[in-house]
Every structure is written in structure tokens, then in C-alpha cells.
């Protein structure tokens, strides 16, 4: 546990960052059309009334994700970026018109910072990575390649289309879903057979499927960077103890998406019952676990809805309610702010959620 001083220092840094980002997005000389227009319709002025994170939480309503689906991309272009073409990134597994986030350098900044959290032992420098998972229009594809490059590595890619998998599963075409997963795994195994790879990025289910068909330790895999779907304590334990052979392969679970960036995890082991807690890359993004009706953080170690605030010069997104729920965890030495643990789809205990084979 960090001491109070460290927690306060991080909170002060967040407050200062919030003030800077509000000034950036709501000033006509730097801000984007969407937020400038939005502010005109309010009876209050963000530039005057938001000076810290608490102000932001109390004044801003929840960000509506339809805005990212329904509005043209250029309403999100801050004036300072007006002369640069942008990347268009789409969110994961939805069908229909996808939500899109535009960006320039954020993914590089986020993943460069994340690289510092990886060990050279499990993610050796100057070697090769392989990503097996959703590429396509997702930020993740460029981000993983940048992360590999950042460590002097190049990266192979095997794609998986989660939208297709969701359709197969929703239509109860389980054989087809299985066949598609086998097809993805076949391609990954072909790369592993013919090329030397030391680090993987993949999803938990694909990792499990890969390990069932190949001894990953013998194949030279030293580290696995894993995210995308729910990992409860039992599943995390299974992946660490059995799939990654009790630490022979470094297992780095992550929680992230196109809208946030990447949250790092607190180390997991039998000591903490493999409960995976993630910590947002504060101050660029903030995760709260809240009771959405009361707009209040829940008590530590209790369940609540995950709420994301993104605070970069490229993108401002206050209080977006993720479709996930989690346990609120206390600050950690290496990330002296709240964490979110045992993330699972919102309402997972009440209804069956299609997460698919990926």
C-alpha cells in the first residue's frame, strides 16, 4: 500500500492534469467542435467550474457512446491537430455501425509508457512478437506493433474477427465458431513452427487453445500479454499455473480498449487468490468503480460499474460507463490510485453474456 502522501501526490497530479485538459478542450484556440458546441448549450462553463477531478465527476454527465457512433469523426478533431490526418479506430465486438475514436499519437504514448512495466526477462528486447487476436480497425493492432517496436522487436499478426464470432455464437453455430477458432490457431501455429517468437499478445481463450496444441515453453515463448475477455480468479489461476506453467512464461493480463488505452495489472499469485486488479494509466485515463445511480464510488472490495474518463489532448471523454462491472481496489505502490478488479461483463451474474470463443 502506498502512503497517504503518495496517494495525495497522485491525486494532485490528476487534478492539475484535469484542469489542463479542460482548458485545452474547451478553449476555442485548441478545443474540438463537439465540446465547444456542447459547452455553449450548458448553463455552466467548464473553464470556470472544473479545476479538479471531483469537479469533473460532479458536473459532467455520463459520456454517451452513441456520439462516437452517430457524429462525423471531424467533430472530435482538436484545433491543434486540424492539419494532421487522423487514425480511425473502432471498438471491439459490436455489430452495426461501430463506435469510432480518432487519434494521432495517443496509442504510441500509452504503449511506450506501458513498455516500462514489462520485464526484459519475459519480453526480451530485439526479438519477435506475435499478436493473435482482433486486428482490423482496432487501435490494438497498431498499439501492439508499436509496443514491440518500442522494445526493438518486430511483430507477426494473425487476425481474428470478433464480430463474426459473436454472430456465430448468437446464432448457436458453435461448430462454426470452433472451426473459426481452429483456423486462427492453425495460422498461429504455422508462424510458431517457421519463425522464432518470444512474446505473444492474445486473448485468454486463444492462449488456452494454442497451449493445447503446442508446448509454448518449448516453442520459445517467454511472455504472454493477454486481454480482451473476462478472467475470473479461477481462470487467471489456470492460465498462470497451467497454461503458462507456473511462471515459466510471464503472464501479463491487461484491461484496455480503444477509448481508454491500457491499464496495467497488480502482480497476481496464490497470495492474492489470483484476483486481477487493474490500474488505469492515470492521469491520462481514470477508472472508477461506481454506483451509477448515485454517481459515487462504491466501497473498497465491493462490486460496482466501471466508469472511464479519458483525459488526453487528443480525446476528452468524461465518465463513460463501461459495459463492465468490477471490484474497487485500494491504491497500489506502483499506481497510487484506485484499481478495478475481477472485471466481468455488467450483469454477468444475472444473465448470460456472449463473449465468444475469443
Amino acid at each position: 500500500m502506498p502512503n497517504e502522501e503518495e496517494v495525495k501526490k497522485a491525486a494532485d497530479e490528476l487534478d492539475a492534469h484535469v484542469a489542463e485538459i479542460i482548458k485545452w478542450h474547451f478553449s476555442p484556440e485548441t478545443g474540438c467542435p463537439f465540446w465547444l458546441d456542447w459547452a455553449k448549450e450548458q448553463s455552466w462553463n467548464p473553464l470556470e467550474e472544473i479545476s479538479n477531478f471531483n469537479d469533473l465527476c460532479s458536473k459532467f454527465p455520463n459520456f454517451q457512446d452513441e456520439w462516437l457512433r452517430d457524429l462525423p469523426n471531424d467533430v472530435w478533431v482538436p484545433k491543434a491537430y486540424a492539419d494532421r490526418p487522423f487514425n480511425i479506430f473502432e471498438t471491439g465486438g459490436t455489430t452495426g455501425m461501430p463506435k469510432q475514436r480518432i487519434g494521432w499519437d495517443d496509442f504510441r504514448i500509452d504503449y511506450t509508457a506501458f513498455s516500462d512495466t514489462l520485464s526484459d526477462e519475459h519480453f526480451p528486447r530485439n526479438h519477435y512478437w506475435m499478436m493473435v487476436g482482433p486486428t482490423g480497425p482496432r487501435r490494438l493492432r497498431l498499439a501492439i506493433e508499436h509496443l514491440a517496436n518500442e522494445r526493438g522487436c518486430s511483430c507477426y499478426f494473425v487476425d481474428l474477427d470478433p464480430r463474426w464470432v459473436k454472430r456465430l455464437i448468437a446464432g448457436k453455430q458453435f461448430d462454426q465458431a470452433r472451426a473459426y477458432m481452429d483456423h486462427v490457431i492453425d495460422q498461429a501455429l504455422t508462424i510458431l513452427k517457421h519463425r522464432s517468437v518470444s512474446a505473444l499478445f492474445t486473448t485468454p481463450k486463444l492462449l488456452e487453445a494454442l497451449a493445447e496444441r503446442k508446448d509454448l515453453v518449448k516453442a520459445g515463448i517467454k511472455g504472454v500479454f493477454c486481454g480482451g475477455t473476462t478472467m475470473d480468479k479461477q481462470y487467471a489461476r489456470f492460465l498462470v499455473e497451467e497454461v503458462c506453467e507456473g511462471g515459466q512464461i510471464g503472464f501479463v493480463p491487461t484491461y484496455g480498449n480503444t477509448l481508454m488505452g491500457l491499464a496495467r495489472h497488480h502482480p497476481i499469485s496464490a497470495d492474492n487468490d489470483y484476483s486481477i486488479a487493474y490500474y488505469a494509466p492515470q492521469p491520462r485515463a481514470v477508472l472508477r468503480v461506481v454506483n451509477p445511480d448515485a454517481n459515487q464510488a462504491v466501497d473498497y472490495d465491493t462490486w460496482g460499474r466501471v466508469e472511464l474518463t479519458t483525459l488526453t489532448k487528443e480525446f476528452f471523454m468524461p465518465r463513460f460507463l463501461e459495459r463492465d462491472e468490477a471490484l474497487r481496489r485500494k491504491p497500489w505502490d506502483e499506481a497510487p490510485w484506485d484499481g478495478v478488479a475481477e472485471v466481468r461483463p455488467f450483469g454477468a451474474m444475472e444473465k448470460k453474456i456472449v463473449e465468444g470463443v475469443y
Binding site: 488456452e208 493445447e212 475470473d232 480468479k233 479461477q234 481462470y235 489456470f238 497451467e242 487468490d273 489470483y274
Partner: protein
């Protein structure tokens, strides 16, 4: 005493999962045990190494394993055995009472199920003799030898027998018991509400000297169950028709679904029908009417209404009794919604023209009732005017049977696939037709309860023929 936790067994080794389910008392919902739930990946990983389990069993001779099975039968019936891996011990009486409290089966029925399992384990030589048609056990140990002067050679079809078990009747576990003496390990998903019997059996085997590696006990989800069925090579599944239809035609999966067992009375004996009411009543209602060998239809050439009325008079007044009453006939529902569903289905189907509830006049009150702290269904006899009625060939998890008039000449065609037929007749022509019927698994000729099974004659699949195949062999002198 704390609530016991039943870990999963991975080749006999306890493994406690972070995910748990609860097994609850059918009356007050109190938790009787928690159960480790494992993800399918764990089962798949263990199956990759399953040859180790088979090797452990192969170190024993068939004779030794028969003796171990016999000892396990005694331990199962009489002794205290570990329940979970936290030091809890379960006496035979504890087992009986706990199983009764979570399944709704009265003590007397649990005791009968225990006795059946005990008999199977202590008479395994007889059973194997029946299954193998008298093959010398040394041939099974060596894999080849001579039988009746001819060379024979057998090889196992799998390294493990997969089992996806039901919760409705403990004695179904007797089906897998020969697998151990046949040196094939078991990989099991227990029934959600009935982990007690298979776990106790495994502990009895281990205490009797069987290598623990022979036992995989994996409470798991649908994916895990599917993998057990798919990856074991040979597997047994129990379930309703919608479940078993999925695996029909798969030679690696032996399907144990509804039995649709029946009593048929021939033209020659129908005038004596009153003599056979006892056998009809026991066939319909023994074991709470929960077995696939319970009769669910009585097919007669005439006197259908009279027989339905006589059965109604016997079964209609039956009420739930205290769970420890030795005269208890009805079982409570571990899942009350199942009882409600059956009651609604019966009401809806009885409203269709051509059927009536012959038990109703003798039942004081509704079929579905709350009693003894639980949910119960009282027996139902439905008279149907033809085999076309929706209730004529149905099976429910309670004492239920239809009574239908069908001319003897049309009976065998009209009954459809039937697990047990008790045919009450002395007519040679009818007997020959019955003997030649391909839609009957077990045939009783005479007034024998459909519930009576012969351990040396499998009524549903031959475990030896399922787990072993014969091949031609030549050996240089």
C-alpha cells in the same frame, strides 16, 4: 461442524477451485456442501495425460480389481469415508440422510439404491462374466488368449470412460462401476444436485486399494461436459430427450435418456388383469417413479378404463410422508420448478380430448403440493383413448403412467423404442413376436416388475463391448 467442501479430483488428486457451487437441502435451501467448479480447460489438460491413469490401473490384474471393487462395495455401504479434503468424514447414515435431503428421495429409497450399488460392487465377477460372456479374466489381463478353443484378442477402445451424470437416481452410478475392473479410468461430471454418490464411490474405491489416478471428478459447465463427451473416446450421457438426441448416432457416446418402459398384457391374460395390479403399481411407482425402468405406460387389449381406475384407486391416495418414513413412496423435488413444470404440462395435456386423469377421483387435493417442507407431485394415471394422444407415451420424473387400449396385434408397432417391456402373456406366438422385437432393450416375459434388472445382463448397452473391441490376431510360435 463447518460445511464440507468437495474438491474436484484430478486423477484422484483434490483440486480446490475458486469457483464453487452449492448443494442445497430441497426443503429449506440450507447448504449441505460446496462443490469446486472447474473450467473445461482443466479437463482438457488432464485428458492429455490420461494414459498415466490407465497405466496405474493396468498394474493390477482383473481379479485384483474385482476384489478391490468388492471391498469398495462394503466400504460404500457401511463405513465412514472422506468427504472433501478438509477432514470431514461421512458415515453411511450421513450419506443416506444428506443425499435424501438434497435429492428429495426418502430414506427408504436411498437405502434401496445403496443396496443396489453394493450388490453391483460385490457381484462384479458375475457382472463381468455376463458382460464378457464368460471370458477368462487372464485373457483380459494379457489382451489375448483362447476361448472355447479359438484364439481371442481384445484391445481397449479408449483410455478413459467419460460420464455426464444425472441427479435423479443414485443407482445409475452402478453403470460405470465395471469400468474400473476393466482397467478404464473414469472422467466424470457429476449431477449438479448429486455429487454424493459418485464421490463416495470413488473414495470407497481408493480406500479399498484402487489407484486414485483412476478417478476424475469434475463439476463443470456445459463446455466441460461437452469436452468429456467429445474427448474421452467413450462416454455415457444421461439426460432428457433433447439432450440425448444431440448424441444419438455417435458410436462413442452411449445415450441414457428416457426409457419409456411399458407393461403389455396379452389377449390370453387380460381377463386376469386384477392379478397384475401389484406388479403394475410397483413398476410405476418404485424409486419415486424416477427411473428409466419405471413403467410409463400400460398397454392392454381391453379393460383400459377399469385398469386405469384400479391403478388410480391404488396410487391416487398416496401422499408425501416424512422423509424417514419407511413407507414413503413419493420423492420431493430438488428443483421445485421441475415439479411445477410437470404439473402444468400434465394439466395442459389432460385438457386435450381423449384422456382423463384416473387418479383425480381418489386424490384429495391438487397433484402439486407442498408437504414435509418440500415440493411433491402425487401420482398420475392418465387413461388415453389411443397411442396418438400426447400423454400415451410420455415419461415424467414422478409416478406417472398412461393406460391405453391397443389390439395385441398392433402393440409392438405402436409402443416405439422401449427400454423395458414386461409382457404378461403365455401365448407362444406373441412371445415369439416379442423376442424378435428390435425396439425393446430388455424383455420380461411374465409378471415381473419393469424395475427388476439383471446384473449379469445389461439392459442398456454392454460396458465391455463399449470399452473393448475384439480383433483378429496371429502370433509366430
Amino acid at each position: 461442524m463447518s460445511i464440507p467442501h468437495i474438491s474436484c479430483l484430478r486423477m484422484g488428486k483434490p483440486y480446490r477451485s475458486f469457483n464453487e457451487s452449492e448443494v442445497k437441502d430441497y426443503r429449506d435451501g440450507s447448504v449441505k456442501a460446496t462443490l469446486s467448479q472447474v473450467n473445461a480447460g482443466i479437463i482438457r489438460r488432464d485428458l492429455r495425460d490420461i494414459s498415466r491413469a490407465r497405466e496405474a490401473l493396468s498394474k493390477f490384474s482383473t481379479r485384483q480389481l474385482i476384489d478391490i471393487s468388492s471391498k469398495a462395495g462394503e466400504l460404500f455401504l457401511k463405513e465412514s469415508l472422506p468427504l472433501g479434503d478438509e477432514g470431514h468424514l461421512q458415515s453411511a447414515q450421513d450419506y443416506l440422510e444428506t443425499l435424501s435431503s438434497t435429492s428429495g428421495l426418502p430414506h427408504v429409497m436411498v437405502q434401496r439404491n445403496m443396496d443396489k450399488i453394493h450388490y453391483a460392487l460385490t457381484h462384479l465377477e458375475l457382472i463381468l462374466n455376463g458382460l464378457t460372456r464368460g471370458i477368462d479374466f487372464s485373457i483380459l489381463d494379457k489382451g489375448h488368449g483362447e476361448q472355447a478353443g479359438a484364439p481371442v484378442c481384445f484391445y481397449p477402445t479408449t483410455d478413459a470412460l467419460g460420464l455426464v451424470m444425472p441427479s435423479n437416481s443414485p443407482a445409475v452410478n452402478s453403470l460405470w462401476l465395471p469400468s474400473i475392473a476393466l482397467k478404464i479410468p473414469v472422467i466424470m461430471k457429476p449431477g449438479r444436485e448429486e455429487p454424493w454418490t459418485p464421490y463416495r464411490l470413488m473414495q470407497a474405491f481408493i480406500a479399498a486399494g484402487c489407484p486414485k489416478e483412476a478417478f476424475g471428478f469434475y463439476p463443470t459447465d456445459h463446455e466441460g461436459a461437452g469436452d468429456i463427451l467429445k474427448l474421452c473416446g467413450r462416454a455415457l450421457i444421461f439426460g432428457d430427450k433433447s439432450t440425448t438426441d444431440l448424441y444419438a448416432g455417435d458410436p462413442g457416446v452411449q445415450v441414457h435418456g428416457p426409457g419409456f418402459s411399458k407393461i403389455l398384457i396379452g389377449d390370453d391374460e387380460i381377463e386376469n388383469w386384477e392379478k397384475y395390479i401389484d406388479v403394475m403399481v410397483s413398476s410405476i411407482s418404485d424409486n419415486g417413479g424416477r427411473s428409466c425402468v419405471n413403467a410409463s405406460a400400460v398397454i392392454v387389449p381391453k379393460y383400459g378404463k377399469e385398469i386405469a381406475d384400479a391403478l388410480g384407486k391404488r396410487l391416487g391416495p398416496l401422499k408425501p410422508l416424512p422423509i424417514d418414513d419407511p413407507n414413503a413412496v413419493l420423492s420431493g423435488f430438488a428443483n421445485p420448478k421441475m415439479g411445477e413444470w410437470i404439473d402444468q404440462t400434465l394439466e395442459t395435456d389432460l385438457a386435450e380430448k381423449g384422456a382423463f386423469d384416473a387418479t383425480a377421483p381418489y386424490r384429495d387435493g391438487p397433484r402439486l403440493m407442498q408437504a414435509e417442507g418440500g415440493t411433491y407431485l402425487r401420482p398420475t394415471i392418465a387413461y388415453c383413448d389411443s397411442m396418438n394422444h400426447v400423454l400415451s407415451n410420455r415419461e415424467f420424473l414422478c409416478p406417472y403412467a398412461s393406460v391405453v387400449e391397443v389390439p395385441q396385434s398392433q402393440m409392438l408397432r405402436s409402443i416405439g423404442p422401449t427400454l423395458v417391456v414386461t409382457a404378461i402373456t403365455a401365448d407362444e406366438t406373441f412371445k415369439n413376436q416379442l423376442l424378435a422385437a428390435s425396439n425393446v432393450e430388455r424383455l420380461n416375459i411374465g409378471a415381473i416388475s419393469t424395475m427388476k434388472i439383471s446384473w449379469d445382463q445389461p439392459h442398456e448397452g454392454n460396458m465391455f463391448e463399449f470399452l473393448y473391441k475384439r480383433r483378429s490376431i496371429g502370433m509366430a510360435a
